[in-house]
Symmetry: C2
Subunit: 321 residues, 2 copies
């Protein structure tokens, strides 16, 4: 059994490897080679924790396993990350456990990789302005991964608490780009690519605010009731997602679907674009939207990748199990 | 993170500790302090494997986690056990992973402990004859745990392939007891306690075959469609189980329930007997039946117990995770 503690992950895997792993598993999912098992998610009635598992199997890579963990809101007071996760991989040929991998950084990397994959395949080629909505922990990962997909010249951002955007100003500076805090009207009008990464339960970005050819990656909605953009905006866009059933039930598309504005056939798995079965964006003026709901197979893909890298670099801790 | 490989388990925990752990968690479940999360079970479409997770949380012991694994029918050819499982425990206060524990022997011990708990609380006090139906790997664990619950004087057994009962003859000899291969008519008529531990999809033991005061522990049915005893026998018995919802959906009671012979209120959680809220057996002539469906909380209970024992004995492998 290979053990890869959380503190080792950052030295083993980066955005490029996470991108490749996530792009590959989205392709497998769309081909029907990989599928996610039902998600288990429980309010355990202790420490206000929400705990559960995301799991699946990719027949093409033979990645089998689960990510276990959840949110413990009191952790910050103890000097720990609120979101705690661990990924377990199993040998698909025997069922024996193969690896236990710290899943906190990997979760951030795989979530950022998902929107980056959507930007690479769907954003206007000449995109110059990146618009960020949200300024939490995950926003910096999203922004760094997005900036690598196009020759962006500037970043604009909006957050309910504008002062928190300073962390994104710093990330833009790292990349040598200017960052400006703007209104939602300006953000929707000026950005060529928009990432929403909030925990909102009410639509932040309105349909009328988004003009011109734009790609929007909605990355925050992963629960029934959450919503980042107006459902009319979802309905107007050409919609893509990681997993259609999850997009309809708990992703950003849930509201437009419930209101009858869109149906299952209006949402394309991003893997179809990666596999060349869907042409993706057809003109510079088109509005495309990626609903990133987050699936267990992404976790398994990046965990399998980091295990491979650890073995290559001789950094895997092995325990006879 | 504590690592307890499969090969260490046998030296750390035995039937007595497994009995205590399982009895305690059944009591917690009946009090509403412990509950099982939805079971994930998937035919993964590779190596004919059936894979999944059983998970839960016990607020009284703070045992939180899952058993992951399944059945890989081709393992025997590779010199491995077909049923492979690993139990993962988490810190209920922070969500951090606490232990990875080999789950193969523990699964056998916790399953045997469940029927043993039912025998201790429900079998006629003066039971002299133990009847075994089934002679697979798990049957020896069942028999050893059962023999410790009453002053049995002999064991009788039936199996579809009678020659396989030799392994039970050997277990009886260990305990200094005679063992006899008998017909189902004789088994149902003579045994005071009957354990069924098969993978049958058709009723083996018929209602008319069971006479006099008897306790039956049905331990083999854990899937929709499986059945070990006639539904009329279930209907005639005072029925107990580990988890009522599972008993009705995939346990031995599924058939009697589907046929309208019994309903939810006819099945008592065994924990109610342990907690003194149900009187259990009310006369020596009564027919009692325990439907052992197997729940994730049993796995967590024995895993938490073995981790504690390993720490006490200084045998825990600890990895900084």
């Amino acid at each position: 059994m290979i053990i890869l503690p959380e503190k080792e992950i950052a030295s083993l895997i980066g955005r490029a490897e996470a991108f490749t792993a996530v792009e590959r598993v989205f392709a497998s999912m769309a081909k029907g080679d990989a599928y996610n098992f039902p998600v288990v998610r429980e309010a355990i009635g202790h420490a206000d924790a929400l705990y559960g598992f995301k799991s699946g199997f990719d027949r093409s890579s033979l990645a089998l396993g689960l990510k276990s963990g959840g949110c413990w809101p009191g952790n910050a007071d103890k000097g720990l990350t609120n979101h705690q996760s661990t990924i377990f991989l199993f040998d698909a040929d025997t069922g024996r456990v193969k690896a236990a991998v710290g899943g906190n950084l990997l979760t951030a990397l795989r979530t950022a990789a998902a929107s980056a994959v959507s930007i690479r395949h769907l954003a206007p080629k000449g995109a110059k302005t990146l618009g960020m909505i949200g300024a939490g922990h995950q926003s910096t990962f999203q922004m760094r991964a997005a900036l690598e997909q196009r020759a962006f010249e500037r970043v604009i951002g909006w957050n309910q608490h504008p002062e928190r955007l300073d962390r994104l100003t710093a990330v833009a500076a790292e990349a040598g780009l200017p960052f400006e805090k703007v209104s939602l009207d300006r953000l929707g009008g000026e950005a060529d690519v928009i990432i929403t990464i909030t925990s909102s339960f009410d639509p932040i970005l309105k349909d009328a605010q988004v003009t011109g050819g734009t790609h929007i990656a909605c990355m925050g909605t992963d629960t029934v009731g959450k919503q980042e953009v107006e459902s009319a905006l979802v309905a107007r866009a050409t919609a893509f997602t990681d997993e259609v059933s999850q997009s309809l039930s708990l992703g950003e598309c849930q509201h437009a679907a419930r209101e009858g504005l869109i149906s299952e056939t209006d949402i394309t798995p991003i893997g179809d674009v990666i596999n060349g079965r869907h042409s993706g964006r057809t003109s510079d003026d088109e509005l495309t939207l990626f609903d990133g709901t987050g699936v267990g197979l992404q976790d398994l893909a990046v965990a399998a990748s980091v295990v491979e890298l650890a073995l290559e670099k001789g950094k895997a801790i092995t325990v006879d199990f």
